[in-house]
């Protein structure tokens, strides 16, 4: 590729802009790392890293055989866990279609002193696998 001196200077200048902007963005994202994560893991909550009585999100798997519905109401209790620790969740409301035991969820709510997350909203997290029913 032929570059005369003026073109070379322009190209260098553009590269410099890209590097500077990338560096600035990387530093900003690094500083904000915790805030960009959408949710806490159940291990982080069990370890006491999450603030009490503050709006937060908890992500993990719904533990098998842990979903207990209260009769005559929309109240439901279940346990969310990752591969180490588990956290109890209680929720009153309508659950999304994909909510089921063994599925990933993101729960939005407040952590109480008893270590239970009082949820205002339950979101189902879909995984990246797609397959027909027959293969399941």
């Amino acid at each position: 590729m032929k570059l005369n001196p003026i073109q070379r200077r322009r190209l260098l200048f553009i590269l410099l802009i890209i590097i500077a902007v990338a560096l600035a963005t990387a530093l900003a994202l690094y500083a904000l790392q915790q805030n960009i994560n959408l949710f806490y893991n159940s291990s982080q909550i069990a370890a006491g890293q999450a603030p009490l009585n503050h709006e937060l999100r908890l992500g993990g798997m719904v533990q098998a055989n842990s979903v207990k519905r209260m009769p005559h109401s929309l109240a439901v209790n279940f346990i969310v866990r990752d591969n180490a620790k588990s956290v109890r969740v209680s929720y009153v409301g309508i659950l999304p279609d994909l909510f089921r035991e063994g599925q990933a969820v993101v729960v939005e709510g407040k952590l109480t002193v008893q270590g239970v997350v009082q949820a205002d909203q339950v979101l189902a997290k879909h995984d990246e696998k797609y397959m027909p029913a027959i293969l399941k």
């Binding site: 802009i17 279609d97 879909h126 990246e128 397959m131 027909p132």
Partner: protein, 244 residues
């Protein structure tokens, strides 16, 4: 090679070459859409969890991919425009920015339609969704900036710089699901290794992706030809061309 590129990039030659390419890309686009739509909407089996709702993937994934591919091409065109001052590069930027914005909007809206029943919410401020929204704003910014500056050359330079600065957002969109906890799922498609989707569902998806690419190419070429006619209307070859 270099001479050849310069020759190709001359508006007059590009106008003619694009004219011969357009019918072929249109036919290819129609065939791919036919295969992809029939395969995706009728032949592919329903997902074991989402049922038929998963079929929005055949629009969502191609438009999200295109929103980024078009942006990358525009950023490359912006560098070419700034360094070599090739007129064609700015024409491509001018005509493809609205198309990129449209694909970004389509990706965001189809995602929201899918998210409401599946996740339980239209929108969540996770890293993937937010960075894609920023991409939409960058596209709109490029369009607005061009419209706000009356002098064509200044508009070209300003929008090129904005496009180059905005390129940092592209890797963030792509890797957001790997770098942070997000509600959005990780990558289903991989070029290397096995994709996490059943083959009967995968073939139509690739067809739809290629169809979207052909569609974008066709539209950009058609719009670029129109833009060339508008910008070069004083030049001799167009005067001669119009007289025939």
């Amino acid at each position: 090679m270099w001479l050849w590129i310069n020759k190709f990039a001359a508006p007059k030659n590009f106008y003619q070459i694009a004219g011969t390419i357009i019918p072929w890309t249109s036919i290819l686009c129609a065939l791919l859409f036919l295969y992809g739509l029939i395969g995706g909407l009728i032949l592919a089996p329903p997902d074991y969890q989402q049922g038929d709702a998963f079929r929005i993937i055949y629009v969502h994934v191609p438009s999200a991919l295109l929103s980024m591919l078009i942006y990358i091409s525009l950023a490359i065109a912006a560098v070419i425009n700034l360094v070599w001052r090739i007129k064609l590069a700015d024409i491509i930027i001018a005509v493809s920015a609205p198309l990129g914005a449209a694909f970004t909007f389509l990706a965001l809206s189809t995602g929201a339609f899918w998210g409401k029943p599946m996740w339980g919410t239209w929108w969540v401020w996770d890293a993937r969704l937010t960075s894609e929204l920023i991409l939409l704003f960058i596209y709109l910014g490029v369009i607005a900036l061009r419209a706000a500056i009356p002098l064509q050359e200044s508009a070209a330079r300003a929008s090129a710089i904005l496009l180059i600065v905005g390129i940092v957002n592209i890797p963030i969109i792509h890797y957001s699901v790997a770098w942070w906890n997000t509600l959005h799922q990780g990558e289903t498609l991989t070029l290397t290794g096995a994709s996490l989707i059943a083959p009967a569902m995968l073939h139509p998806l690739w067809a739809m992706i290629l169809a979207f690419i052909c569609y974008a190419k066709t539209i950009i070429l058609i719009r670029a030809r129109t833009e060339i006619l508008r910008r070069e209307k004083q030049s001799q070859w167009i005067q001669a061309f119009l007289r025939n």
